[in-house]
């Protein structure tokens, strides 16, 4: 029972105390608190289940796939024809499309994103920043299927006017639009990194007579290098995982090429293509999408881990 008040009591009799019974620890209330905590914990643990589920499903189906297709063929074959009678499973074919489109996207996103980040962090007035940032966020909120439509029916005809030999499906227009899509992402992470650079460094630079641009390029950007690099790497991860723009505008024809003027399927576009058809559950063709998904997951995971590691590094400096 109430041991604290019972200790000093002569012959076990209870002294009248100011502490009322209503404040004593109640069993039922304690139980309720515990139950709620357990429920909340379970909700938080869903994220762990999700990751476990993703890894389990992808690995399980891929193991079946790799028992039929040697992993060496998967990595070295120069053809990807899983739906033909003469089936070949060379992931390099899909990987080439993914890499080419991502490189195009980065060639757009890195210069634009970095310039915007430097401008917003070092030059723009707080008011301009207040307006520009939400509008940039809107740009990243546009559904990717809409970007796909834009790439196929607006950017491709525009590019065809410049390059008449450009086919209707090509990696170039998909890559450019994808680059525009990840600009806000690259810009906002780089800007965060630059604003984390302490003001004293800038003041020191200004005191030596440097201009804003000199301070930005020679002091702020070098100091924020790892954060900016993290922004680029997370941008790559976004580009690699992007699906709809490529499925719509780059065609779904597997093509081992690094030429952005050609049509080519990416890993993600291939998964969409198979999902749109009606392959029977359990066939090798069906399992290829899980093997492709596993490759995709490993690729993005690698970039994400490097990115997070670099982001943490710049935080520790100051």
């Amino acid at each position: 029972m109430d041991s604290a008040s019972a200790i000093d009591a002569p012959r076990g009799a209870r002294l009248p105390t100011v502490v009322s019974d209503r404040l004593a620890k109640k069993y039922s209330r304690n139980l309720k608190e515990r139950a709620i905590e357990a429920l909340l914990f379970l909700a938080a643990f869903v994220s762990v289940f999700t990751t476990a589920g993703i890894v389990y499903i992808l690995v399980k189906e891929s193991v079946v796939f790799f028992s039929q297709v040697p992993i060496l063929d998967f990595l070295t074959d120069r053809q990807w024809t899983p739906l033909f009678d003469d089936a070949h499973y060379g992931i390099r074919v899909l990987l080439s499309g993914t890499i080419t489109s991502s490189v195009v996207a980065l060639l757009v996103a890195i210069p634009l994103g970095t310039t915007i980040a430097v401008y917003l962090s070092e030059f723009a007035s707080p008011r301009a920043r207040e307006v520009a940032k939400p509008v940039l966020e809107l740009l990243s909120g546009v559904p990717t299927i809409v970007y796909g439509y834009f790439a196929l029916l607006f950017v491709t005809p525009l590019l065809q006017a410049l390059i008449p030999s450009l086919p209707g499906f090509n990696l170039l227009s998909a890559g450019i639009v994808m680059g525009i899509m990840i600009v806000p992402y690259v810009a906002s992470i780089s800007e965060d990194a630059m604003r984390a650079v302490p003001m004293s460094l800038r003041e020191g630079s200004f005191a030596m007579g440097a201009t804003r641009l000199q301070t930005a390029m020679k002091v702020v950007v070098p100091a924020a290098t790892s954060g900016i690099a993290a922004a680029y790497i997370l941008g790559i991860s976004r580009a690699v995982g992007e699906t709809m723009i490529l499925a719509v505008a780059a065609g779904m024809q597997p093509n081992l090429t690094f030429n952005p003027l050609e049509p080519a399927a990416t890993i993600t576009a291939y998964i969409v293509q198979v999902a749109l058809g009606d392959l029977p559950h359990g066939s090798v063709g069906y399992q290829t999408i899980f093997a492709a998904g596993l490759s995709l997951l490993l690729l993005t995971l690698m970039f994400n881990l490097i990115g997070f590691w670099m982001r943490r590094r710049y935080r520790e400096v100051y």
């Binding site: 909120g141 809409v146 029916l153």
Partner: protein, 309 residues
């Protein structure tokens, strides 16, 4: 000596040049921002012009059709609405509960670290991988079928990190004295959370939920991956029926299509007449996400203005 040290005019020239570069860079920055905005404007106007002829009331009340001129988005917008209801019903309670646990309850140990690493990591997983998870787990292992509930659950998992992060940020901005005050008058942990933490963090949580939902509305890849049909000329059974008990959950397991999939279907057809339909559907889609984002931005702005602890 004087040969090494620059003369006064040379220094002046250097300064002028550096200043000019400064101005040049400002122009460059504005141009870069302009390219972003111009793309957005071009995208929206292009779709609006292409789809304008289709943006009529009938477009919302007709089923998709083989004839482009008669096709509408009735099954698509109803499907989107139903899927969003499932998504919200799953993602909001789970995400808010997870956020509360991590901010208010979680002890500092490896389990908490594990959960936090998982959430950061899940935010970076490509959406199509969630589609593969749903295909393997919800469709085949749990037997939920290629239905509204599968799509809703998939999108809920997809936006869970967004809701959790928003909840945590909203809770973190509540000062510690609020909690101390509650504990001081004898409230338990849950009472503090229920009566103080949740009400004060509601606007912040709402912002995160709206942004997450606007992302879910436009997601196409995971829903294609679970095998949603692209041609649906019927509606799911209604949730309210005439007979007792007046509520039906059959719509949960009905086949469905959603706005982005309908748009994808029309975009990938070679016939340009269908492209006008795609443009009209895209305009509506962009308008919906824009409206949701604007609402979220406005909420965040109001929140920052009103609350002064």
């Amino acid at each position: 000596m004087s040969a090494i040290a620059p003369s006064r005019t040379e220094v002046r020239r250097l300064i002028v040049r550096a200043r000019r570069l400064d101005v040049l860079f400002v122009a460059l920055g504005i141009v870069a921002l302009g390219i972003g905005f111009a793309t957005f404007v071009a995208l929206f106007l292009d779709m609006l012009i292409d789809g304008w002829s289709r943006l009529r009331p009938e477009f919302f009340t007709q089923f998709p059709s083989r004839r482009a001129g008669q096709a509408g988005i009735l099954s698509a917008w109803v499907g989107t609405l139903l899927v969003m209801i499932v998504t919200a019903c799953v993602a909001v309670p789970l995400g808010v509960a997870a956020g509360i646990y991590l901010e208010e309850y979680a002890p500092k140990n490896w389990v908490t670290d594990l959960i936090e690493i998982n959430i950061t990591n899940l935010a970076g997983v490509p959406s199509i991988v969630y589609g593969l998870l749903a295909l393997g787990l919800f469709v085949y292992a749990f037997g939920l079928g290629q239905s509204v509930q599968t799509a809703g659950l998939t999108l809920a998992l997809l936006i869970l990190p967004v809701v959790i992060v928003a909840t945590r940020e909203a809770i973190r901005s509540i000062p510690g004295m609020i909690r101390e005050g509650a504990y001081a008058v004898g409230a338990t942990r849950w009472q503090t959370v229920k009566d103080h933490i949740i009400p004060y963090s509601t606007p912040g949580i709402l912002t995160g939920v709206i942004i997450g939902m606007s992302r879910a509305i436009g997601e196409t890849a995971p829903i294609i991956t679970i095998g949603a049909l692209t041609f649906i000329a019927f509606l799911p059974p209604p949730p309210v029926t005439g007979d007792f008990p007046f509520l039906s959950f059959e719509w949960l397991s009905a086949p469905f299509t959603v706005m982005p999939i309908q748009m994808f279907n029309w975009t990938s057809r070679p016939d340009p007449a269908f492209h006008a339909n795609a443009a009209a559907a895209g305009t509506i889609l962009v308008f919906m996400t824009l409206a949701m984002n604007a609402l979220a931005i406005w909420l965040r702005f109001r929140l920052r203005k009103n609350i002064k602890w």
